[in-house]
Subunit: 358 residues, 2 copies
């Protein structure tokens, strides 16, 4: 059998981790502030880092909360804002782990079908009228799993509804800084800062292992998060946040993002070219950034058939049904992460994929 | 006003953090295994560290789960094992944050009154007959907040009941290795390994800022924890666990614990001597280790009066009511953490305390 090609999780390429720089940053921070980062404290996250992000987003430190991954921050938000009897809206398909957390809260989770430019707003509005959600989870930039970017018009409309109906938008934006083509679209937060909890992390632009997630949010929400964090783990892992702080202070993040764009941009282009060549017409929307491109398998195919055959040709694929609240909706949906796969390997993967489709 | 003396949280003395050693360990781990610890993965905790703890406790790696603090592991356990309609038993008084987490689960939380050698077992048994708990939370060694050690006989009895009635004992043992006097008592786990979730951390014996908590538990429980962790944060903060792993591999932990015993033991002795001198007869049980000694205020005193007066003499105290499910039960209970306070400062603190009591 051919060497296995793994097209499952959205991992960064580990060859791009700035290991030497992080060694120096860890040393620098422990030596200067070891008695702080090795002690208890800083429930909202390492204070100097909190101030750094506040400057970055032009908000107050009281608007920043940092935790051990943005996923866990979403968990806190769902535990605080949702409960049985409330509703949560989510894009359909959406990030599988987000679906799990929303459901864990006991809320009724409603999927709003995705289109190439974001959610179908007619359906969103119909669901609003049935009963507004307490929270809507949206990945507006280079969506996981579809790769789509929500249009400015749709962002404005959802922001306006959040204000009108009084619900929170959890705008998860970990891929936002990785735009390889085209122009940035304003964040949903920019249209309704009083109603948007803008989440991001350093997992896609630096390294996931530091688990540095953060949210920019109204003070009242941050206060609830701090209380919840204190009760859950006292404070986040400060040694990791201290190391990250030094790294950001050196000004190395922007050049690192440029380096990643030069690495991942051609991988996206290569993946799209291979799909055009071997599976023309299957791409749902041509992504302009991020980690994922997604396709609809031609009629006559199904996940069960695909996954059974993939093993035989050395392909490991994500079950597309996992991204949908109603699994059957994803029976012909395939997410293809491209950042960790070299272009020639990706062409080989798509060739194998085409060979096992009906 | 005199310099403030803070007798609230149980923090280690930051002067004892082995900062230089941790700088080297962080460098060593990032250089050798950076592509792993900076990537996603290892939901049960950094694999080599998991193996290290497995050897330490003579169990399989599948019996070890490590997270970003033992408190958060307790949170996971309560979320997995408790729900409205179940019961949880807890020592009364107990660790305030544990009480909060147990209650967050929605379970009925029942406090079992503490005595100088552990819980009152007559009351434990009566509550068992009313309805066994799903989980009992116990700090058997140098209890937080009392400083007491549960006797071997009581450990055996509680372990036997856990097997008979089929409930989990969460045995939280972060202070266990810090014994300054007397002989170690066998863990509750040693009497019922199939029913005990033995939790500990490196917060008291190395540094809290790395948030390295772990639990030794039956495989089926570890599997549930891994699933829950994966869904909550994907994996713990691996850079911190990598640094800790290198530290443990150097064999430095045992000497560090010996160093801490030499530092903290005399502080315990000094605190006891000062209490004997200024507040004779108030110590509830003379601790043989750990971080805390506790006293019962003489009759006629109350928390409201005490806390109002403490400020005026430069004392910051923990409200004793916070350790009880029924706050009024702690109206004359005072926890005194001694590890972060130099002996002469502690004598001054106790002198001030005696001066404001009725």
């Amino acid at each position: 059998m051919a060497d296995l090609i793994n097209l499952t999780r959205g991992n960064p390429d580990p060859a791009a981790f700035p290991i030497q720089a992080l060694v120096r940053c860890s040393e620098e921070n422990l030596k200067r502030d070891g008695k702080v980062v090795l002690q208890y404290g800083h429930a909202p996250g390492y204070a100097p880092l909190r101030e750094w992000f506040a400057r970055q987003y032009a908000v107050k430190p009281a608007n920043i909360f940092m935790g051990n991954s943005s996923l866990e921050i979403l968990n806190f938000l769902t535990q605080i804002e949702l409960k049985p009897g409330t509703r949560a809206f989510v894009e359909s398909p959406s990030y599988d782990r987000a679906n799990t957390l929303l459901r864990r809260s006991g809320a009724e989770v409603v999927g709003i079908p995705m289109e190439a430019d974001g959610m179908n707003l007619a359906i969103f509005e119909k669901e609003l009228q049935k009963g507004p959600p307490a929270l809507a989870y949206v990945v507006a930039d280079f969506q996981n799993p579809m790769g789509t970017t929500t249009s400015e018009a749709k962002r404005k409309q959802v922001a306006a509804w959040a204000q009108q109906y009084g619900f929170w938008i959890a705008e998860d934006a970990p891929y936002r800084q990785l735009r390889y083509h085209g122009q940035a679209v304003p964040t949903i937060m920019s249209f309704a800062p009083d109603r948007v909890l803008h989440m991001s992390s350093l997992s896609k632009v630096l390294a996931p292992g530091v688990r540095m997630g953060y949210v920019v949010a109204p003070e009242a929400v941050v206060e609830k998060l701090v209380r919840y964090a204190l009760d859950t783990y006292i404070g986040p892992v400060l040694t990791a946040q201290g190391m990250v702080y030094e790294y950001l202070c050196t000004g190395a993040l922007e050049p690192n993002i440029e380096k990643l764009k030069k690495l991942y941009g051609p991988r996206l282009d290569g993946a799209l070219a291979s799909l055009d060549k071997y599976l023309p017409g299957t791409i749902i929307a041509r992504p302009e950034g991020g980690y994922f491109v997604s396709i609809t398998l031609p009629q006559g195919n199904s996940m069960d058939k695909l996954l059974a055959r993939a093993e035989g040709v050395g392909l490991k694929l994500s079950d597309g049904r996992g991204f949908y609240l109603t699994p059957a909706d994803g029976d012909r949906f395939l997410r293809i992460p491209f950042c960790q796969i070299a272009p020639d390997e990706m062409e080989e993967a798509i060739r194998r994929l085409a060979g096992i489709l009906d």
